[in-house]
Amino acid sequence: MFKLIATCLFALLSFNLSAQNKVQDEMGEFSIQTTPKRIVVLEFSFVDALASLGVSPVGVADDGDANRVIPAIKSKISPWTSVGGRSTPNLEIISSLKPDMIIADMERHATIYEDLKKIAPTLILKSRGESYKDNLAAVAKIGIVLDQDVKMQQLIAEHNQRMDAFAKKINSDKKFLFAVSSTRGVTMHSPKAYAGGVMERLGLRSAIPEETEKAYVRTTLERLVKANPDYLLVGEYGDQTAVDDFKKSPLWNMISSVKNKTYLETNPKLWSLNRGMIAAEIMAQELESVIK
């Protein structure tokens, strides 16, 4: 007991000088006394945010596969310990990493918020189903909490400049659509989804502007033909997915993107999993190279 009190006192004294950083997270006010050094993140978008600052997380919920983080982000940080799947992260491994902060996703991890808080101060932000704007807001909060507010604001400003430059160069009035395809079906990403938000940021028109409520919209081939994108980008999870069945149908050739040969198969890890500033800029590059 004495040891515990002594440690607490020491901790209090040694960190008293550093500023206490506060942000509003999805659960209310989050404040942290120290600058966190050992951070565990439970969604890919937070990896992007940390990597922008050059901070390496000690643990990532990467679904047991480190390659789900795109190389551009992975190369910026040192290797981490996998803490399991994003939907059911392994609490035992998280606690064994002895983190001093955890960044969790509101939608996936609200159920284990109390457990996470017992392990370390937990910042809970939007990640799953977040929009492009939500992501930038979350990134700014992460900057404050890591005591790197100024640097993060600067990074965001630079990101905005680069996106503006892309927007100027791209300048197209065509209709764009990104969709992911798995064995279970094809899902369109509306302007509310991250990829859709990036397109909107670049001043591109969505092929499904009427979808303002839902980020992800499951689609049939008929619906896809009706949306009729001029540029269709599909991220495939696997070799043979639902979109390959679409291709066998004569309807497929009626999509103007297919007719104009502007159909593109992209990396779903980049376009859907790794949301963040780094990913957004690579997405912008890909869009720039595909647009004729």
Binding site: G84, G85, A110
Partner: protein, 326 residues
């Protein structure tokens, strides 16, 4: 293969203890058996945090949920007098699942803590509906069970509909549906423990009458049993236990079906012995399922609900092939 009851009980308890120690010791972080005891005793142990915050509550919840589902299955098989009956068949599980998914779809911002009461309500709602629809069929157990099956199918269809229309809003609900002990902690213990503490003794009180019921409705009546009342009471007790279990862990299938059969093959038909033995078996089954869910492919956690079938089904098939007296 009748065995001396004392031998059965001692074996079950030893098995339960072995699995419990293994459950606490194994996982993404391995703890040697001796360190497990150390971690339980002293707060200095480095494993104390993991054991006390994650593994111990999971162990207890798995055990209690398994016991509740198993007793529920035993009672339902007893009163319906059909070896295929179990809480899932009567629509309790799908009713509870439907309630949780409805909550997730129509009130997406509802606090997470609303899920267990919603499930409980759904389970009881399904039961009330079943008892109302089949109120004249209480004397005809097979017909009664069929109404339950029809209800379960209807709820299942409604669940599939909601899942198809709103595939992404219901992440939490989906996770809950597969029957998982992941993320359960001490706060979830009061959701199941009191039910079992009250209803298991009540079931034991009914044991003697259940034995009479096994002789057939007419014999039971002539021996002074109020068959209709007994049947109703047993169904309510069984369904309450199942609803409570489902409200904590989601639907963990197969436990309520296989445990009673296993125990019957060892102990015969005396419910006073069957009830505690089934409870132990159910506890062992769910504890081992949660154990394998954690250690099969760490750090990924599998839902225990998948594993109960994997563990239970082969054994069940073996039993069915070996003993032809059902």
């Amino acid at each position: 293969m009748r065995v001396r009851p004392a031998f059965v009980f001692i074996s079950l308890i030893v098995l339960l203890l072995c699995f419990s120690v293994w459950h606490i010791g194994a996982g993404a972080i391995d703890i040697a058996p001796l360190d497990v005891f150390k971690a339980l005793h002293s707060s200095d142990s480095e494993h104390n945090f993991i054991v006390n915050n994650f593994r111990l509550p999971r162990l207890l919840i798995s055990g209690l949920v398994g016991a509740a589902l198993a007793i529920s299955g035993l009672l339902i098989q007893g009163v319906i007098r059909n070896p295929l009956a179990s809480p899932d068949v009567l629509g309790v599980t799908s009713g509870a699942s439907l309630a949780v998914i409805t909550l997730a779809v129509f009130w997406p911002n509802a606090p997470i803590s609303y899920i267990p009461p919603a499930a409980l309500l759904g389970g009881f709602g399904a039961t009330a509906l079943l008892l109302f629809l089949a109120r004249h069929l209480l004397q005809r157990p097979a017909a009664f069970a069929l109404v339950g099956i029809a209800l379960a199918a209807t709820f299942g269809a409604a669940i599939d509909y909601l899942l198809t229309v709103n595939p992404l809003e219901i992440n939490t609900a989906m996770l809950w549906l597969t029957g998982s002990v992941w993320g359960r902690n001490w706060n979830h213990l009061p959701l199941i423990a009191p039910w079992l503490a009250v209803l298991m003794p009540l079931a034991m009180l009914l044991a003697y009458r259940l034995d009479l019921l096994a002789l057939g409705d007419d014999t039971a009546t002539s021996l002074g049993t109020g068959v209709k009342k007994l049947r109703l009471l047993c169904i309510v007790v069984a369904i309450s236990l199942a609803s409570a279990a489902v409200s904590v862990c989601g639907s963990i299938g197969f436990v309520g079906l296989v445990s009673p059969h296993l125990v019957r093959s060892l102990l015969g038909h005396r419910h006073l012995l069957l009830i505690p033995a089934t409870a132990l078996t159910g506890a062992i089954l769910v504890i081992s399922a949660d154990l394998f869910a954690r250690i099969l492919m760490p750090p990924i956690e599998l839902p225990a609900g998948i594993l109960t079938a994997f563990i239970g089904a082969p054994y069940f098939i073996f039993l069915l092939c070996r003993y032809k007296n059902w």
